[in-house]
């Protein structure tokens, strides 16, 4: 049961297509496993539909006189795509849904982890530079170094669960942290915790050592 969802700002920006790639990845991966946010997103898409319907306003936009003929000529040589069928799809990954799986090039086993201390591991994902996306591995019962944020940080739990002193986050839950939140996430005992996280500014660690190490860890 997912209890922590996306907020309206993120859904509207994702619908409008204006988020940094790393945030788009987290939003899309959450929606893949959260029907509530999928329905909310599609209602935000309906705002875009309303704006398309009303986009002409008082000054009708004219198309070139041969626009329809040109388009008809193009569709004559194109092949319609079939409706998607469940049976035609490959089996789904139990931990990593699309689009995340494609970004990683496979399942959890294919992740190229780098240790960041205390048993915690990360893997940076290839996205545009406007924001950074990373996979995080937190051993069951371990803590992630205490950190605050210069910008916004999204953390989506894909396996296990963590608590940060404010709330508990399990599979499918998304934590939205801003600069006001200082937290020390702690993985619950049992399953190791695997998360997808994105930030639009570097994290600020409180201790001296992690801060010195930051440039090397890219965290």
């Amino acid at each position: 049961m997912i209890t922590h969802h996306l907020n309206d700002q993120l859904l509207m920006a994702y619908s409008a297509g204006t988020l940094p790639e790393a945030f788009n990845l987290v939003v899309a991966t959450h929606i893949a496993i959260c029907d509530e946010c999928r329905a909310r997103l599609e209602s935000f898409d309906a705002i875009g539909g309303a704006l398309i319907e009303e986009s002409l306003g008082d000054a009708p936009e004219q198309l070139g006189s041969d626009a329809l003929a040109q388009t008809l000529a193009r569709i004559k040589t194109s092949t319609p795509e079939p409706r998607k069928r469940a049976a035609a799809q490959p089996p789904r990954d139990r931990v990593l849904p699309e689009p995340l799986r494609s970004y990683l090039g496979g399942g959890v086993d294919s992740i190229n982890w780098r240790p960041v201390g205390g048993g915690v591991k990360q893997a940076i994902l290839p996205t545009s530079e406007n924001a950074t996306a990373r996979m995080l591995f937190i051993p069951a019962g371990a803590a992630v170094p205490d950190h605050g944020h210069a910008g916004m940080e999204l953390t989506l739990v894909l396996q296990g669960a963590f608590a940060d002193g404010h709330d508990r986050f399990a599979r499918g839950d998304i934590e939205i942290a801003d600069e006001d939140l200082h937290h020390q996430p702690m993985a619950e005992p049992g399953l190791d915790c695997i998360c997808l996280a994105a930030t639009d500014a570097p994290l600020r660690f409180r201790g001296l050592l992690p801060r010195l190490a930051q440039p090397f860890l890219q965290i």
């Binding site: 309206d8 700002q9 204006t18 699309e98």
Partner: protein, 180 residues
């Protein structure tokens, strides 16, 4: 747009999907291509580029017609999602990966009543946007034309999205049910 219009566009798109009906496509083109062009111009494209991209969008409408689900979106909404994706390519914006799509089951033909109610809710939303205080309406337009970052978008949009969301949720549940 009226509810009857919404249902009409959905029927025309079904004709495109079922039998590659070029007459139905031409009717959709006449209504939506100029609107997509205007939307792209408001999003920062010049007229020539917007016209070229509007044609690309309509070609995609032809190719993907079978994937439209009238119980989850109006035709205008579905075309918006295609136009948005084309705009991201056109302006070389950040890549926007899509969530895993819910598959269609063998019996997933949308229910007629679901379709009607969804078109009705889409029509209501157009009225609701028109009736918003000007400041909020302009904020929403700027967000969708790509002028605002996520942190510049207001926390409260003031839009009544509850009903349309519930209808879409119901359609998603039926789709999941028909798969299991």
């Amino acid at each position: 747009m009226t509810i009857a219009d919404g249902v009409k566009w959905a029927d025309l798109l079904a004709r495109v999907a079922d039998r590659q009906d070029t007459e139905a496509f031409a009717a959709l083109f006449g209504h939506f291509a100029p609107r997509v062009k205007a939307f792209l111009i408001k999003s920062g494209a010049d007229a020539a580029l917007a016209e070229e991209c509007a044609q690309d969008v309509m070609v995609t409408v032809w190719k993907k017609a079978a994937q439209f689900d009238a119980s989850r979106a109006s035709v205008a909404t579905w075309i918006f999602t295609i136009a948005r994706n084309r705009r991201i390519d056109m302006l070389r914006r950040d890549r926007r990966p899509e969530p895993e799509e819910l598959d269609w089951g063998p019996e997933a033909e949308p229910d007629q009543l679901d379709t009607l109610v969804l078109q009705q809710e889409s029509e209501r939303l157009i009225t609701a946007i028109a009736e918003l205080p000007e400041k909020q309406r302009i904020m929403i337009e700027r967000a969708y034309f790509g002028d605002l970052t996520h942190s510049e978008i207001a926390e409260e949009t003031g839009l009544p999205l509850g009903t349309i969301k519930s209808r879409i949720r119901l359609a998603l549940e039926r789709l999941r049910h028909s798969l299991s």
